[in-house]
Symmetry: C2
Subunit: 507 residues, 2 copies
């Protein structure tokens, strides 16, 4: 990783100095990852304020190291070097991206955003519980105002549109022009398709729901058993419990969490498998580029593709459930029709029009995302007033999902993303689902062993393919370049639509 | 904490700038505390190298902030201020101490020490297991050489002797001239006293040992119950499991650990109560001085006094065991003679001459410490060669404890302190035991409610006294000043000897 043509010594020294600096920044990130995990899983309540201060101090240090006056000079010098190989050049590109994203926002704006988000999240908890959008409006307006300001600053520095400038934080290279096109395709296809799926589903007997209780300890043991099957390395990671499931931690210490419902084991189990997909990406990133920006995961689209590939494409599929059903029955002492693989498959792929995104099935989920994407674009551009959000939300739900929430708790107050300052994040969920379908299709086309192995609970061939084609690519290529190299095409809707048709209409 | 006479503005600004800097350093310390706890309790094995790097990066940052070129100027300016109150002056004194201790060691020496210690600890694990001192000799010689070098650098900067310069890291203001005097008193008293105790003990029936198994979950529940009785605030701390028990964590997040032996509940329980004593000190430090050096615990002598006061003075005493014995019996479904308070008291105060310091009882423990103190002084001064350590150890054991270990595993290889670079630490154990006796005597003399309350499991009066007289004093005074203010005398052997005589000979 520091093998550089010695003909270009000053530039090489600059590059090396940058590698050292980014390695230190990455170690602070590792520390923050563990502190965040601890905060969500372990920390006593009374420690919250102190933990916030400790994490803020590390974030400030990290930001100072990244925006140090020496960095732009080093970047300029290193970019003039001749001897850098492709990975090093990509690393330098990612370093400049990280520096620019940190440098472009004035410190006061960063601090104001942090304060506004923190205040808004507090209000949101109450406003959501009380289904009271008016209560949220003032603080959410402030978050939106600062989000626009940040987006404008990034747009000015990058030449991107305001929305793309925000999106780029989560999905580097993501562009709304392409998203519009792909989401329009989906929005054209899904309503009629969903109706057909529901009609077909109604014509079949309803699946039998296994009855609990399902003790948390048994759920955890089963989850760990299946994580091992996927290939999760427990010497470099953990499974724990938190209120909101996540995949976090640090290099060589990838920690996923779940929450157990003793009345419904499938929910946590599929959640664990989802986070395991994220974790496999993290555990599979290129070791030689550890601590360097090019060794990071590419972005949220590919990250979500890995979780959805494991959960949606594989683990909710009939072949894998043929392997898993007996393990499930054994874990809970289950017996009878509810525990048959066919029944568990129908249960795992059940479709219904609902109000809540996180509870949505694979077929209706994209409609929830497209709605949010369209609304956040209109809010950021000023086409729509924030006060008009509840009405627009309900109209969009009627059009895209086919149901109208009875109140804003089940409507526009359900997600933390906007109060939490994550504007431009939503589309990555559905783009990730598309990428998952595209990657899984290509993997099976390229290696005929993958599918029969999964039916035996053997993920090794699939993971070998993903290691080579996704995980070990780090951030060397863009998302589209990664997909093109792996599947022959950039991101598109075709494989996703083909998957939905095959699974839900058998066509 | 920043109320300063505005007449002295520049000095006040310097003082305030130092407070800000030390607050940031303290937050990094909090982060390190949680990362260390996680490493000992939770971290998967494969994460060790990465965790080491992350913690080293934070330590370097903290060291850089402390030794920044601006600090000596700020200290000088602030020290010229008129308007600082007593706490602020003490804070400034502690800041200068922290700066000098960090600044006096060249970076290469710090790094060389860290490497030598890390290498030596690895060798020590094998050498101890194999009882092979010759194997440890080369790497321990290197640690000793660097320890001498560091001590000499500190001695030159402070005017202290080499040993006192090292001791001062653990016990600020600690001086070997006074320790010599006190340890000589103990070494004169203990051999004959120990013989008398053993003779008296032999004349009584042996205590009955409760038989297990004692499930870890029941031990933990009992431990938490008694921690609550002591006053531990679980909203600002935790109890967990680690191989080596410790008290760590962060401000408002004090985490103690233990290790359960299902054949012997008393060992872990007394360990938990010991760590709870440390934790009460941490939870009771002055909140208004949080994050500032003057708000830290005074040193290892007072810290150990708090753990030993809770464990040795109170929880191994007959009155408290009268309260705790029924809870113990209930926790494990115990019944009969083994669970009587008198029996548990005799078990908790059983004396025997042994080889291992950490297994030693209260009567023989000081001899183990005095031996180590004398040996480390001779090794550091060069009076003794490291190669002669095993022989000198065994001679010292014969003289001070009255037994000779059969091999070096049970002899001079038993403790990690020397391989781990903690030279000058050992005396604080016994000085802490002396301080515990002195404080507990004074507390009961000053508040007649303390003793009857403890017999009911009510620690509130004792803890109120310790809060006022020790915990909330932070580092405002020296250890001796703190003891003098609380008990009327500086640290001495009188209360400790009086306690031993009363408990073990009823005289």
């Amino acid at each position: 990783m520091t093998q550089i043509d010695t003909a270009a010594v000053p530039a090489a020294a600059a590059y090396r100095a940058l590698e050292d600096r980014f390695a230190r920044i990455s170690r602070i990130g590792d520390a923050l990852g563990i502190l965040h995990w601890d905060m969500q899983t372990t920390m006593p309540d009374g420690a919250a304020a102190g933990r916030g201060e400790a994490m803020a101090a590390l974030e400030v240090l990290s930001h100072e190291m990244l925006t140090d006056a020496a960095v732009p000079d080093l970047l300029g010098e290193a970019e003039a070097a001749d001897g850098l190989d492709g990975w090093q050049q990509a690393n330098l590109r990612e370093m400049r991206r990280a520096w620019r994203n940190a440098e472009v926002l004035p410190g006061e704006l960063v601090a104001a955003r942090a304060r506004a988000v923190s205040a808004c999240e507090m209000v949101w908890r109450t406003a959501r519980a009380e289904a009271d959008f008016a209560k949220l409006l003032p603080s959410l307006s402030e978050v939106l105002r600062l989000e626009r300001e940040a987006g404008a600053a990034k747009a000015a520095a990058t030449g991107l549109s305001l929305y793309d400038a925000l999106l780029d934080d989560y999905e580097p290279g993501g562009r709304s022009a392409r998203i519009d096109q792909m989401f329009d395709e989906l929005a054209g296809f899904l309503p009629e398709f969903t109706a057909a799926v529901l009609e077909r589903q109604a014509a079949q007997p309803a699946p039998v729901v296994p009855t609990g209780p399902f003790p948390a300890a048994a759920q955890q043991a089963l989850g760990q058993r299946l994580m091992e099957a996927v290939g999760f390395d427990f010497t470099r990671g953990r499974l724990d419990v938190s209120l909101h499931p996540f995949c976090g931690g640090a290099d060589d210490d990838v920690r996923i969490t779940t929450r157990y419902d003793e009345a419904d084991f499938l929910r946590a189990l599929m959640g664990v498998l989802h986070e395991t997909g994220h974790a496999m990406y993290e555990q599979g990133r290129p070791r030689v580029w550890r601590g360097q920006p090019v060794g990071d995961a590419r972005g949220m689209v590919l990250h979500e593709s890995q979780s959805l590939l494991v959960e949606m494409q594989v683990c909710r599929d009939r072949p894998f459930l043929g392997f898993a059903a007996p393990l499930m029955a054994e874990a809970f002492g289950g017996d009878g029709a509810a525990w048959a693989a066919d029944n568990l498959y129908r249960l795992s792929t059940r479709v219904s029009r609902g109000f809540i995104r996180v509870d949505a099935d694979e077929v209706t989920y994209p409609a929830h995302v497209i709605l949010r994407y369209r609304l956040e674009r209109a809010l950021l551009s000023g086409e729509m007033e924030l006060a008009d959000l509840p009405g627009a939300w309900n109209e969009g739900m009627a059009e895209l999902v086919g149901v109208v929430p009875p109140d804003d708790r089940l409507g526009c107050l359900q997600d933390i993303h906007w109060p939490g300052g994550s504007w431009g994040y939503f589309p990555t969920y559905t783009l990730g689902a598309m990428a998952a379908a595209q990657l899984f299709r290509a993997a099976r086309d390229q290696d005929a062993e993958i599918e029969p192995a999964l039916a035996r609970g053997d993920f090794a061939p699939l993971m070998a393919w993903l290691r080579t084609n996704v995980h070990e690519q780090g951030s060397r290529l863009s998302t589209d370049e990664t997909l093109e190299a792996a599947t022959g095409s950039p991101l598109g809707t075709a494989a996703y639509i083909r998957h939905l048709k095959a699974r839900y209409l058998a066509t």
